[in-house]
């Protein structure tokens, strides 16, 4: 059974068809790249998966069961994401940002928080140790007490990933994880994505950095004008005439 199986995902904005019958399958522990020119519908596809936008039609199965359409339930089901334009809780500390991510896995309710019972304390301790572990996983353990907004750009990206991992996902959606990074930061990002896969998490990533995509992904799908044009191994996609012309334009006759 595939981890994620999206079939015929379509999103219509008024007269504009942003996504048209897009299929995508992700197996357990697989890294799938989604590439395409700007405006091809890549982020819209993520939004439809995570319930941030309501898809016009299409079916999305996660671990064989229909994926809910409300964002909080999508997360509880086990799909997490990051954003192209980083969206941290800027006025909270680094540790608190990750703690917020543990929210769906915590069983401490409002009443137990007021009573501060043993279960509440146990849950809080567990959340905190998970969060600390994730911060050291993304190499931010020295910055736990800093406000998120004071972090450097690359650190903010890593914090966003740690926060997404705190929700304990089976599938992680990364929207341009290397946007704005320099070469050494990009190399760090490659190592991080591989380490996330090693934790048994499937990954779908949107990316414009082709070396990053082709070096890392097991499979690559190309979206153009809301339609999936090609899907295959990095080698197949790289040599596909249609992809080359979509990206580079047709050779001059």
């Amino acid at each position: 059974m595939p981890l994620l199986q999206a079939t015929g995902v379509t999103k219509q904005f008024g007269g504009l068809r942003a996504l048209s019958n897009v299929d995508l399958t992700v197996e357990e522990g697989e890294i799938v790249g989604v590439i395409g020119p700007n405006g091809a519908g890549k982020t819209t596809f993520f939004n439809c998966l995570t319930g941030m936008e309501t898809r016009t039609s299409g079916e999305i199965l996660f671990r064989g069961a229909p994926l809910p359409t409300r964002p909080d339930r999508v997360t509880v089901a086990g799909v997490a994401r990051t954003f192209q334009n980083i969206r941290l809780f800027h006025n909270m500390t680094v540790l608190e940002n990750v703690l917020v991510g543990t929210h769906p896995r915590s069983r401490a309710g409002v009443l137990s928080a007021i009573g501060r019972g043993p279960r509440y304390k146990r849950e809080e301790r567990k959340a905190e140790s998970t969060s600390r572990e994730l911060l050291s996983f993304v190499k931010l353990d020295g910055l736990r007490g800093e406000l998120a907004k004071s972090l450097s750009y690359g650190d903010q990206r890593r914090l966003e990933i740690a926060r997404a991992l705190a929700t304990d996902p089976g599938l992680l959606l990364l929207d341009e994880p290397t946007a704005g990074m320099n070469a050494s930061e990009t190399a760090g990002a490659i190592a991080l994505v591989k380490a996330i896969r090693a934790r048994g998490i499937g990954i779908v990533l949107i990316e414009h950095d082709m070396r990053f995509v082709f070096g890392l992904c097991d499979r690559v799908a190309v979206l153009v004008h809301g339609e999936k044009m090609v899907e295959g191994s990095p080698a197949q996609v790289q040599s596909d005439e249609r992809v080359i012309s979509a990206y580079l334009g047709r050779p001059a006759e």
């Binding site: 964002p71 909080d72 969206r87 941290l88 703690l99 917020v100 991510g101 769906p104 007021i114």
Partner: protein
């Protein structure tokens, strides 16, 4: 000089009450950017909730200090439940409507609650005497004196504010509230059910307003169906003064406003006749010179 300190002390008492109510305005604004103009009425109904329990449910010979916590909790629960109902029925359906719609609805809810109390309590026009549940007597420090009940008001308010602070800063739900206030869409993607967070926020504000209801009844009996109007406007002023959306600001704004009002009443010629006007002078000054309030950050735009 003694007179000055006496006014200062009275101002703190007044300010504690304003702060308790202001917290409800500011928390709700912080989460949903809505001025819940029905909050004053939620406070007023809370006072009547405590009154009702005392008169119709508690035995007549119950010792006052046993009845007090029951009345207090009854007021808090009344306001908390009412706040949840108002959120669910009046505001949630308008969550994505233009800002003006929930604002007008809030005014409608206010009027509905006032009239409801007026219908249910025949004497609510002239005022129902609130049970006096605290021993009479004065505390003296230096030349300043405050009644026991005023001291109780301040102590209880501070305890409730500290409890709220601990909850918001150090509990998982409080963390989720802060996350929702900063970025509701992202908060949802962290698996937070923001509908539940919003209703929790309304309930917390309601609980504090309910406690303020009982306290107001004890220090300023009788209570009538209109007490929520002035108290609500002043608490709203306190919230704006502190920086709306900022919890610490609401407390600070409450105390500052209470003290300004007490001092102005004493020192401005014919001040006691203008008692209720000072708050609005403050409101206008804040809006003109520092619209973000004392502790407010610049107003962020949100899509």
């Amino acid at each position: 000089m003694t007179q000055f300190f006496q006014q200062l002390s009275d101002g703190v008492v007044l300010g504690a009450l304003y702060a308790l109510i202001a917290l409800g305005y500011t928390m709700v604004y912080g989460i949903v950017q809505l001025i819940n103009f029905a909050h004053g009425e939620i406070f007023m109904v809370g006072a009547f909730g405590g009154y009702t329990i005392y008169h119709y449910l508690l035995p007549d010979n119950m010792p006052a200090l046993v009845a007090l916590p029951i009345v207090l909790v009854a007021s808090m629960i009344t306001s908390g439940v009412l706040a949840a109902i108002v959120e669910r029925l009046a505001y949630r359906p308008l969550r994505n409507a233009p800002r003006l719609a929930p604002l007008i609805t809030a005014i409608g809810v206010s009027i509905a609650l006032q009239e409801m109390i007026r219908l249910f309590y025949p004497n609510a026009d002239r005022g129902e005497p609130f049970p006096q549940l605290f021993p009479n007597g004065q505390v003296h420090f230096g030349g300043v004196s405050e009644s026991y009940v005023n001291c109780f008001l301040v102590v209880l308010s501070v305890v409730l504010m500290l409890a709220l602070r601990t909850f918001v800063l150090h509990s998982a739900t409080g963390r989720a509230m802060r996350a929702t206030a900063q970025d509701p869409d992202t908060a949802r993607l962290m698996g937070i059910n923001i509908d539940r967070i919003i209703v929790t926020t309304f309930v917390l504000g309601g609980l504090l307003a309910g406690a303020a209801g009982t306290l107001q009844g004890m220090v300023a009996s009788p209570i009538d169906f209109q007490i929520g109007f002035i108290a609500g406007l002043k608490a709203f002023t306190a919230a704006v003064l502190g920086g709306i959306g900022n919890i610490t600001g609401a407390v600070l704004g409450g105390f500052v406003l209470g003290i300004v009002e007490a001092l102005a009443t004493q020192y401005v010629p014919n001040g006691s006749a203008l008692k209720d006007a000072f708050a609005f002078v403050v409101l206008i000054l804040v809006l003109v010179f520092r619209p973000t309030g004392l502790l407010g950050e610049s107003v962020r735009a949100r899509a």
